[in-house]
Amino acid sequence: MSDECAARSIFAAVPHTAGTGRGVIAIERDGLAIAHLAARATQLAQLTERFREHFGMVLPDGARRVAAHGVAVAGIAPQRWLLIGEDAGEEFVSGRLALLEHYAALVELSDAYAVLRLRGAQVRASLAKLVPIDLHDTRFRPGDVAQTVLEHMPVTLWRLEDAPTGEPMIELAVGRSFAVSLYEALRESATEFGFCFEPTAKG
């Protein structure tokens, strides 16, 4: 990626802490490569097979996320997934086009989302104020994916393995245009627990 497009954080202009403490910590997940993968009609079996060969993973057939070798795939609808690459660059999608094109539509969406990783003891309590889904430990397990609504904004959440400290980690993706409104909602809901934001490691 050219330096010019290593854009400033979407969250550069918003306050980065609220309240006292670190009940909820939000980390910007910039630099993710994201693509929409939609199976072609009648090609699901072949796609699954090809995908397994190439990525060493089985495409989940529900709202689940699996990951291996820096690549994750999250089921978002019947026969549709988000393919997510860590620090993968733009060739992440283009490099796989030829591979999967016959079996699926693969559409670049790396810039369409703002993704935040949330961790801390109060992540669930905070999110409970925002999303109408059950985030209880046993109902939204590591690897679960949920698409839902957050104050009129469409959002996608997935739960990662818990942090070594035992705290839950949830990543939340929202359309880039909504990022600031979403951030404000999150920050306000977390203020009573103490909120801090950490820009992406890449600065």
Binding site: A7, A104, L109, P132, E151
Partner: protein, 989 residues
């Protein structure tokens, strides 16, 4: 001054004192008091005035069902009218005022209404105030409005915030009285995820108000231990000060937690109240029962109080409502009040039991205390001006005696509190056993226990609670042993006495709305005989208490007057909320600027830095124009932007337009069924204008269709219609033609897109991407598209133009938005480039006669829009058949025209109607309207687009644009809708 405070332990902290003010006077109380208990302790029995007759009123209950003791709490922006004194948890510095009284609650001039009460009977206003006709609104209604209403609202913005929380559980337990606690303990011990909601700030329900023993310990202690056990369990959420106000479909319950109402102001980062949306797999309703009053003369006098409330004040708050308290009861339960008062050293001169026979045990106990007992007696009336002084009692022998008392406790029997169970539409059933309604036809997920189920004994409450707790836990997969607790047996016999037939004076059926037994009789006389008609005619049960303590008495009176049984009268459906809920709490965060999210385009901050003025386009914020220093009038800014685009080049952020990626082997044939015009014939690398219809033949949206590869299209939609179009496409894909191979991806957020338009557009673009892309007419003609490398990224350029100049749209990944727009500005500096906003864009599209949202308004066909030629006659597509209906192609149906004021200086306004030149301004002569208008800097005059009947025949005709709302009436000429470059040569430049 605590004249009525009793000795001994209750649930108040005696060692701490709080100070508060009522009607400006200072009093003191203790933590654990409510405003009601504190006022009673201070000997204040007159709390406010009634709605219609301004009768003095006191405190009737100890709970949320209170009809009388309403006050304005707090002041300024935090003023809360109609707050029940019985629900106000006392805090230091609390201020409250009585309502509906002037100049003071003791000397209220409105009490003159009481003298006129012969006129102000139920429904009197329907029969009068009709003459002279004009006086209703000028005189009578304003006067009625002034005297009606209860407290005063603050007109200021509510300074506190509210929060919404989504909660999920296996078992929701509503109420923490003995039945609720038994259910919660049983289910929680089994391991189920539980939420317990208790309305009061002190859990325990009647265990706090009554003197019971469970397992040899006082009931209030048992409750405390049970709550501690529950609170210690991680899967239990125990919430006090939380009212479940409504039951909704899908096992969803609404609850309000009063987080900060017991504080002067909320703590930092805390809401005033929290609105819980609780989804429960099972629900145990343990909401207890509500004690009823008896309708007798003067039953509203301050000092008359429900018997169980008296017990609550005595036992929990250590307050007595008076020093000489009589009891009027219809069942065994009321006697407990007398004994509790006696135990607290309060004089009880008299027990009047409406029953002629009661158990020997009760009589013996009363005799032991030297209390006079009248069996088969009835209270006929009460006396006292602002407080109770005396009651008149009729005994079985027909003798009337007067007894001096300063308080009267009334036990009219209990009605199970089943409001929540009826919210889902179930009609309650009448029980002959308990003479009240019980819930019926409950859904499998809901179980009613304890007094709410008619189990009025403590043992019964515990037993039914535990059984329901176990059943609920089992049904969600937890094995629960059934606990049991030891309690005393109680007498629970009761015979209803709904009203005292020979009452003297006003006997109230609805305290808050001053509905009397006479009003019920009047309503019956006038034919308002169904329970609903009675309610509506007399306003019985329509107050803030929704008639919780009296409605059944009213129905019993109705039954008696119409010769029916109470059961035949039916019920009034309880509607949510169970108790009134702050509107702010239900809105939670969605107010002010948080009402809806903002959407920002990827280069929003650049535009902001550039001084753009923004406009709301749905949720989007779009740059409307970019004023330069010195430009004070927006019109001159817009004119400069338009002129620059027409003469040189401008750049506009069009990222908000919808972009949908369509792929698949059947993409082309799928889109053929969607668009009215042919799109399968678009060659790869080309773009076509496309028109989508709804099934009813009206235009849904327009946009471009770019073919990126054989089975790969990119559609654009208008900003406003993206959601609808996406829904429409997925509907077609999944519902109509699931067999087609089509993949849809909304890529709107992925791409930032900039229109670069003007005669120098190519020059500008060449300066920044000449090495990436050949831009000549031959290489990239009008309506072509091509990929390119841009700032090291994959980008796309479309040669399309909305404003009618040579134009391109450059699409870049969103993160490159700011570098892109900066690069364009920098490169264009020497060319005189300007950024332009939506306003200039709007002006230029009107100059070109392009239709937009004002024209594609859901009622226009392709033909109306002058786009009929686009509609294919050779294929099937959505909307084709119904677009052909007779009236939609009738010649007098208005269609698109251009409009030009004859006077070049004259302003043309959107919303003006079109009339024939000589025709009077009447609806019959209405021939259309102006849909869009603008001052065209290019033409130096106002122009507009509009819809006009028989448009085709009328080019050149002079008509009127009639806008009486703005006092405009402008002669205009009907012209072709394209004002600028009608041959369309400039886009091809």
């Amino acid at each position: 001054m605590s004249v009525n405070r009793l000795e001994g332990e209750g649930a108040i902290e005696r060692e701490r004192t709080l100070s508060f003010k009522f009607d400006g006077r200072r009093y003191s109380a203790h933590p654990g008091d409510t405003l009601a208990s504190a006022l009673l302790a201070a000997g204040v029995s007159l709390v406010g005035r009634s709605f219609k007759y301004h009768r003095p009123r006191g405190i009737l209950t100890a709970g949320s069902e209170e009809p009388n003791a309403l006050v304005e709490l707090r002041s300024g922006a935090r003023r809360e009218p109609n707050t029940r004194a019985t629900m106000i948890e006392l805090f230091d510095g609390l201020q409250a005022c009585s309502q509906n009284a002037w100049p003071s609650r003791a000397f209220d001039l409105g009490a003159v209404n009481s003298a006129l009460s012969r006129l102000f009977v139920a429904g009197f206003y329907y029969k009068t105030f009709m003459w002279p006709a004009a006086w209703w609104e000028k005189v009578y209604e304003p006067a009625i409005r002034r005297v009606a209403g209860l407290g005063r609202a603050s007109a200021e913005s509510d300074p506190d915030c509210y929060e919404k929380v989504h909660a999920f559980c296996d078992v929701l337990v509503i109420g923490s009285g003995p039945a609720g606690l038994a259910a919660a303990l049983t289910a929680a011990r089994a391991g189920a995820r539980i939420i317990v909601c208790e309305e009061d700030f002190l859990p325990g329900g009647r265990l706090n108000g009554d003197r019971h023993e469970i397992d040899g310990t006082p009931g209030s202690n048992w409750a405390r231990t049970a709550v501690a056990e529950l609170r210690a369990l991680p899967q239990v959420q125990f919430m006090t000060r939380t009212t479940v106000f409504g039951a909704y479909d899908g096992e969803t319950y609404g609850a309000i937690e009063r987080v900060s109402d017991h504080l002067a102001v909320p703590l930092a980062h805390q809401p005033r109240q929290r609105f819980w949306k609780i989804v429960a797999r099972r629900t145990v309703l343990a909401s207890g029962a509500l004690e009823r009053t008896v309708v007798f003369g003067g039953n509203d006098r301050p000092g008359v109080m429900l018997a169980a409330a008296v017990r609550t004040y005595v036992n929990r708050f250590r307050v007595t409502p008076g020093r000489r308290v009589a009891l009027f009861t219809t069942g065994d339960d009321g006697w407990k009040t007398a004994f509790d008062l006696l135990a607290a050293q309060v004089e009880v001169p008299l027990i009047i039991d409406a029953r002629t026979q009661v158990s020997a045990a009760l009589l013996q106990r009363a005799r032991g205390h030297d209390v006079q007992v009248i069996l088969g007696g009835q209270v006929l009336s009460t006396a006292g001006s602002r407080a109770l002084r005396r009651i008149e009692v009729l005994d079985r022998g027909g003798r009337v005696r007067r007894v001096r008392v300063d308080a009267l406790s009334v036990a009219g029997g209990w009605s199970p509190n089943i409001a929540l169970a009826t919210h889902l539409g179930m009609r309650p059933r009448w029980s002959e056993t308990i003479n009240a309604h019980l819930s019926a036809d409950l859904p499998a997920s809901l179980c009613v226990v304890g007094a709410a189920a008619g189990e009025f004994s403590l043992a019964g409450a515990l037993r039914s609670g535990a059984a329901a707790g176990r059943e609920a836990a089992c049904s969600v997969g937890f094995a629960a042993p059934l606990p049991s607790w030891r309690t005393d047996d109680e007498l629970i016999d009761s015979t209803p006495l709904w009203f005292v037939p020979g009452s003297r004076g006003k006997a109230f059926v609805d305290y808050q709305h001053d509905v009397t037994a006479e009003d019920v009789a009047l309503a019956v006389r006038e034919g308002y005989r169904s329970a609903e008609h009675l309610k509506r005619y007399t306003t019985l049960g329509m107050g803030t208490d929704q008639g919780k303590t009296v409605q059944l008495n009213g129905h019993a009176l109705l039954a008696a007057r119409t010769g029916r049984e109470v059961a035949e009268v039916g019920t009034i459906a309880a509607r949510p909320p169970y108790t009134p809920v702050a509107i702010g709490a239900l809105a939670a965060r969605e107010r002010g600027r948080n009402f809806r999210p903002y959407r920002f385009t990827p280069s929003h901050r650049w535009a902001e830095a550039r001084g753009a003025v923004f406009v709301d386009a749905g949720q989007w914020r779009r740059a409307q124009w970019f004023p330069l220093p010195g430009e004070t009038d927006w019109r001159s800014t817009v004119a400069r932007e338009v002129n620059t685009v027409r003469a040189a080049v401008g750049v506009c952020d069009v990222s908000t337009l919808g972009k949908i990626d369509v792929q698949g082997h059947d993409a082309a044939s799928f889109l053929e069924r969607i668009y009215a015009n042919s799109v399968s014939t678009v060659p790869v690398g080309r773009v076509r204008y496309g028109l989508m219809l709804r099934a009813d033949g009206m235009v849904l949206d327009d946009g471009t269709v770019a073919r990126l590869a054989e089975g790969h299209y990119l559609l654009s939609t208008s900003t406003a219609h993206l959601g609808q179009v996406m829904r429409h496409l997925t509907y077609a894909q999944q519902v109509l033609w699931p067999q087609l191979d089509v993949q849809l991806t909304n890529v709107t957020e992925q791409w930032a897109q900039y229109a670069i338009a003007g005669p120098l557009a190519r020059t500008l673009l060449e300066q920044v991407c000449a090495d990436a892309l050949a831009l000549s007419n031959a290489d990239l003609p009008h309506m072509a598209c091509a990929p390119l490398r841009w700032l090291g990224q994959r980008a796309r350029v479309f040669r399309i133009s909305f404003c009618g100049e040579l134009g391109y749209e450059l699409a870049v990944p969103a993160r490159c938005a700011e570098p892109t727009v900066r690069a364009l500005m920098q490169a264009g500096e020497s060319l005189g480039v300007t950024p332009y906003g939506t306003e200039a864009l709007g002006v230029m599209r009107i100059e070109k006669g392009h239709v937009a949202g004002a024209e594609i308004n859901g009622t226009t066909t392709a033909q109306d829009l002058g786009l009929g030629r686009l509609v294919s006659q050779r294929k099937e597509f959505i909307g084709r058949v119904l677009a052909g209906r007779a009236a939609l192609s009738a010649p007098d149906r208005p269609s698109l025209v251009g409009l030009k004021p004859l006077d070049p200086q004259a302003r043309l306004t959107a919303g003006a109607h079109l009339l024939g030149m000589g025709a009077p301004a009447r609806l019959q002569n209405d021939q259309g309207f102006v849909s869009s208008s603008a001052f065209s800097p290019t033409l130096g005059r106002w122009i507009g687009l509009g819809f006009l009947s028989r448009a085709r025949e009328r080019l050149g005709e002079r008509i009127r644009a009639y806008d009486p709302l703005r006092n405009l009436d402008v002669p205009v000429e009907v012209v072709q809708p394209v004002f600028y470059d009608p041959e369309g040569l400039r886009v091809k430049g």
